[in-house]
């Protein structure tokens, strides 16, 4: 039997038995490309995701909220780095991935292209955006690619803090003044639909889902996960005392799930293709950070090289 045939058979058996594919195993080119693209997009989302909330660190109302927000944004950086680490096991290069991001050749989650207008947005991002991310990410802990699955386990453990701090922040604001409650409702109104879009296009318009499910890269369809998120979130909104901005949202006792209104898919397409409210600013900020840090990276590399020379003399 040829090496290729052996590789293909081993790969198929690994997937079939629900075992993990490891970096040096033979894998189809399409699997490798899909994994690199998915992990890189996920890493980019974490890194770009630092910006909307990072903007509020200096304006957090108390030292406690500032410390929490700092820790959270630092986690986002950490998550990005775990994921770049996983992508590198497949032969991707971290510097190259960053360039692809700032040159617009690789994407990141559409959700981070919306602005954070008030401090309530920090809470709503934790509650809804991180809540949706958790729905998406928990099944990825069983992704067929080992390094990605392991990174996701670590990330999911930390995301729970993100969601809870957001919800607690909102509960605090809801116990405050009328103006504070209005801020929470306003932020909820603005983030609800974009949060539902985080699960991607509807199943009828998601051409890669079939292959990704067959490779066990993806465990549930976009619509399944979206429905799960809606069902989880409705009672949380009730407990908080906010209204989700969807007149069609109601319990369907026949299905045992919530029905909800039609998502504006043209908005998702627009934001993904670069025309969201903050796309240009997010990328410009990332590019600036990369350029501003270039001399530090070079100086550290030069220093390390010089020290190696000295030790070897």
């Amino acid at each position: 039997m040829t090496d290729l045939a052996t590789g293909e058979r081993t790969f198929a058996e690994t997937i079939e038995k629900d075992q993990r594919v490891e970096p040096r195993d033979w894998m189809p080119d399409g699997y490798r490309k899909t994994m690199i693209r998915q992990i890189a997009q996920h890493a980019h989302s974490e890194i770009i995701g630092m910006q909307p909330e990072g903007a509020w660190i200096t304006r957090a109302p108390t030292l406690r909220r500032k410390a929490i927000l700092l820790a959270k944004v630092q986690d986002e950086a950490g998550h990005g780095l775990y994921l770049y680490s996983a992508a590198e096991t497949l032969g991707a290069d971290r510097g190259d991935l960053t360039r692809r991001l700032i040159e617009g050749r690789q994407k990141y989650s559409s959700i981070f292209n919306y602005p954070t207008l008030s401090f309530a947005d920090v809470g709503v991002i934790g509650w809804l955006v991180d809540g949706a991310a958790i729905c998406n990410q928990v099944p990825l802990c069983r992704s067929s690619f080992g390094p990605y699955a392991r990174a996701m386990i670590r990330i999911c453990k930390e995301e729970s803090f993100h969601q809870r701090q957001g919800y607690e922040l909102l509960m605090t604001m809801m116990k405050g003044t009328e103006a504070q409650r209005a801020m929470v409702q306003d932020a909820t109104n603005r983030w609800w639909w974009p949060s539902l879009m985080m699960f991607g296009p509807p199943d009828t318009d998601s051409p890669n889902t079939g292959q990704s499910m067959a490779w066990k890269i993806k465990r549930h369809t976009n619509d399944e996960l979206r429905q799960r998120f809606v069902d989880m979130t409705v009672p949380q909104a009730e407990a908080l005392g906010v209204t989700l901005p969807d007149p069609d949202l109601r319990w369907n006792s026949e299905r045992g799930r919530h029905d909800f209104g039609e998502i504006d898919w043209s908005e998702l397409k627009r934001v993904i293709s670069g025309d969201g409210p903050m796309n240009a600013e997010r990328i410009a900020h990332r590019r600036r950070a990369d350029e501003d840090g270039a001399w530090v990276r070079e100086a550290a590399a030069a220093h390390a090289a010089k020290r190696t020379e000295t030790t070897h003399e």
């Binding site: 490891e22 040096r24 033979w26 950490g78 775990y82 190259d96 070079e298 590399a301 020290r307």
Partner: protein, 99 residues
């Protein structure tokens, strides 16, 4: 993008963390750093933000030598037919205690 800029990329390090005293160091992932010292500091910031460790090793990824999936048979198959290396290979009457 020129090769010049790509060459400035810091080397890759593998990170191993001892979760607590009495346990082995376990591989947790990798990171980029200019040298070993910076790799240790980055590893602390990246992999031990929540008391996940009491000790860290960092190793240049390029220095790691590993067996490949293609070596699997040559490396590991010979131990498969040595069942006599396992205690259950030996039948001892139930009446014999503590063995």
């Amino acid at each position: 993008m020129s090769d010049e800029q790509i060459r400035h990329e810091w080397p890759l390090f593998e990170v191993f963390v001892r979760a607590k005293r009495g346990l082995n160091h376990v591989h947790v992932g990798s990171l980029r750093a200019a040298d070993h010292e910076m790799a240790l500091h980055h590893a602390r910031d990246l992999y031990t933000r929540r008391n996940e460790g009491v000790s860290i090793w960092v190793v240049r990824s390029a220095d790691v030598v590993s067996s490949g999936p293609e070596d699997k048979d040559a490396f590991f198959a010979p131990s498969g037919d040595k069942v006599y290396r396992h205690p259950t290979y030996y039948s001892i009457p139930d009446s014999v205690p503590h063995i």
